[in-house]
């Protein structure tokens, strides 16, 4: 019996496949290695190779056409490749941050790096997913690894609470997602976005209510991963309790993958559902912007403040998602690139200031940092100013693009809320900067030197500044090639 195989386009798969293979190799390495250094180096190598393959894929897509594989179940289009770059950058930076951190914190177990790679692999699958089942599986691969990583510091209540809370609430959110997928399938009879959209648009479709309910549940499941209010409750605890490099990874890669999935669904399936879905999402975005920024105002710990700021930034990204299908996609990717650099950078500085158990991130500890460690203080200032959206830096351009996209899509009120809330955000970012430069030192800081973390900080500072000064370069690349995001 001959078996009609599916059309597999291997080139489209190379970046996640390289990560998967590296992870498998790294696990074998881990069998014979006590220390994680070698696995870390291997992981970095794998990430660089994946980035090269991604670059190759980008060239191919630019010249010819977008790649699909397995029918329309896996889409390697320009947005997916750009998201892959963001994920790879975030992962490389997280690995660099972890390199010395894990030894210092007595957490150096070689399985750490394979889990990070597998999580990134899942994120890439999620980004390129063209159907709901692939989306769900990518999401689960990504999340499962992150659940374990956030509980990495065993014996510490915060870390174990972070892992447990994230796992239980994450499982709950997955249940929503699965239920939503089931209802969408029940209404349309398809899993692939393009086919669902075709059925929804077709004549004689009479299951709009069922499909809309399914869409709402899918939205809830993905909003949880992106930490949009009111599904953000897990984020501050998980971000604070997890080891700092894991927090950086979570706040960037997980968010990028969730936003990518939302963009894809919002530009294919959701426009044909009842407009209620878009309105509900708009309310979520407004809530996120207000709650995230206001809660960040009242935090004493800087890590927790950054956690709430990450929630707030999910709101800005949500603004871009609302404009999906038009300029929103590019704005979201651009914003995520900037956000990845500045947010990971801020966490990297934090990991050099807090003690080996991630304690001591109170505001007082930053007093006089400008005099004691001028380099670190300057870097943190750049990140915080960029996160606040101060002009020459990347965060500013990102905010402009996002607000522009929201205005073009007609969400004027939301854009105004976003602008007002970014003014509020300036207060809590500047508070840290003020404490660093205008207060006398109160604490003896631990003498930590790590070339790997320093390298991550240098890269992120350079990226934040350069991206801010030359915004057109990356934006131009995003425009290249065919935008297949809708999966049509």
């Amino acid at each position: 019996m001959t078996f009609p195989g599916p059309d597999i386009n291997w080139v489209a798969f190379t970046p996640p496949l390289v990560l998967l293979l590296t992870a498998a190799l790294a696990v074998l390495f881990a069998l014979y290695q006590e220390s994680g250094r070698l696995t870390a180096q291997l992981s970095l190598l794998g990430l660089v190779v994946a980035a090269l393959f991604n670059l190759h894929l980008f060239q191919v897509v630019r010249q010819t056409d977008a790649f699909t594989s397995f029918g329309l179940r896996y889409l390697a289009d320009t947005p997916a490749i750009a998201f892959n770059f963001v994920i790879l950058i975030g992962t490389v930076l997280a690995v660099l941050m972890s390199y010395h951190y894990l030894e210092r914190a007595d957490l150096d177990h070689p399985e750490y790096y394979p889990l990070i790679l597998l999580s990134a692999c899942g994120a890439m699958v999620m980004v390129a997913a063209g159907d709901l089942i692939t989306l769900l599986l990518g999401l689960e691969i990504m999340s499962l690894a992150v659940y374990v990583l956030s509980a990495w510091r065993q014996g510490s209540r915060e870390s174990e609470e972070a892992g447990m809370k994230y796992f239980l609430l994450g499982a709950f959110a997955s249940a929503f997602l699965v239920y939503g997928i089931a209802l969408l399938y029940g209404a349309s009879g398809h899993f692939v976005y393009a086919e669902i959209a075709a059925v929804l648009r077709g004549d004689g479709f009479d299951q709009l209510l069922l499909a809309t309910l399914g869409g709402m549940l899918v939205l809830a499941g993905l909003a949880f991963k992106a930490a949009l209010a009111p599904f953000h409750q897990w984020a501050p605890d998980a971000y604070t309790g997890a080891p700092t490099p894991v927090t950086a990874f979570m706040s960037v890669v997980v968010k990028a993958a969730a936003i990518a999935a939302l963009l894809r669904i919002f530009s294919s399936v959701f426009p044909d559902l009842s407009p209620l879905v878009g309105q509900v999402f708009a309310v979520l975005v407004a809530l996120t912007l207000v709650l995230g920024n206001l809660a960040a105002l009242f935090q004493r710990g800087v890590k927790r403040m950054l956690a709430y700021s990450a929630v707030a930034h999910a709101g800005y990204l949500g603004l871009a998602v609302l404009a999906a299908g038009t300029v929103g996609t590019r704005a979201a990717i651009w914003y995520l690139t900037a956000y990845t650099l500045m947010n990971v950078g801020a966490f990297a500085v934090l990991s050099l200031i807090a003690d080996r158990n991630d304690r001591g991130d109170d505001l007082e500890r930053f007093a006089g940092l400008g005099r004691m460690k001028p380099g670190l203080a300057a870097a943190l200032t750049v990140f915080l100013l960029s996160l606040a959206g101060i002009p020459p830096l990347a965060g500013f351009t990102g905010k402009i693009l996002v607000f522009q996209a929201a205005l073009q899509a007609g969400y004027v009120a939301l854009a105004i809320i976003g602008i007002v809330m970014s003014v509020v955000a300036v207060v809590y970012y500047f508070r840290v900067v003020a404490v660093m430069y205008f207060r006398e030192p109160e604490y003896e800081l631990p003498a930590i030197s790590s070339w790997a973390t320093s390298m991550a900080i240098v890269v992120t500072v350079a990226g934040t500044v350069l991206l801010g000064i030359f915004p057109g370069w990356w934006y131009g690349l995003l425009q290249a090639g065919r935008q297949l995001l809708a999966g049509m």
Binding site: L115, S156, Q207
Partner: protein, 183 residues
């Protein structure tokens, strides 16, 4: 239709039992009831292979694991202290609203069933072959991804459990110093 209704009622009663019964063993047994009824439903739909898998994997292997965990941890049906008591009514309200929304959807847009011949042909041959056909063509990517998911789960579980002996002692020492700092 009558068979389905009876099965559905049993399934729902079992599902409600899982979340309301206080003793973990009772809840686990209620879950067995639900899973077995689901298997019977598969049989009525001619999906014999699926029914067998349902019994072997879910009602068999996974339930045994549940019972092992309950037995090893010696969990009694203790009521946890009421934290966030104000949350309870809110949770009930949300649950009722969600259930009402789903019920409305189900009854507002009833879909008429296709005629009997069509159903009979669609249900034929619920054996291994049709499942394998879609699993290795349409869902090949998903099939492979499940493998990656399982790999991730195994690595994660091993990495958390394997180091317990060393790590906990160190962590306790840490915890002691932390306590001192706080005092």
């Amino acid at each position: 239709m009558a068979t389905f209704l009876i099965l559905a009622v049993v399934m729902i009663v079992g599902a409600v039992g899982v979340i309301t019964l206080k003793q973990p063993v009772h809840a686990a047994l209620a879950l067995v009831g639900t899973l077995l009824t689901l298997a019977v439903t598969y049989v009525t739909l001619e999906a014999h292979f699926l029914a067998a898998i349902q019994v072997i994997v879910y009602a068999g292997a996974i339930m045994v694991l549940f019972l092992f965990v309950i037995m090893l941890l010696n969990i009694q049906g203790e009521t946890p202290p009421a934290v966030l008591a104000w949350f309870r009514p809110l949770a009930y309200i949300v649950a009722v609203v969600a259930a009402a929304a789903i019920a409305t959807t189900a009854f507002m847009e009833p879909r008429s069933l296709p005629d009997e011949v069509q159903i009979a042909t669609a249900l034929q041959g619920g054996g291994v072959e049709p499942i394998a056909d879609v699993l290795f063509s349409d869902f090949l990517l998903a099939f492979q991804l499940v493998g990656v998911l399982l790999l991730t789960g195994i690595i994660g579980a091993v990495s958390l459990v394997q180091r317990k002996v060393v790590a906990v002692q160190e962590a306790r020492a840490d915890g002691a110093t932390k306590e001192l700092e706080h005092a």
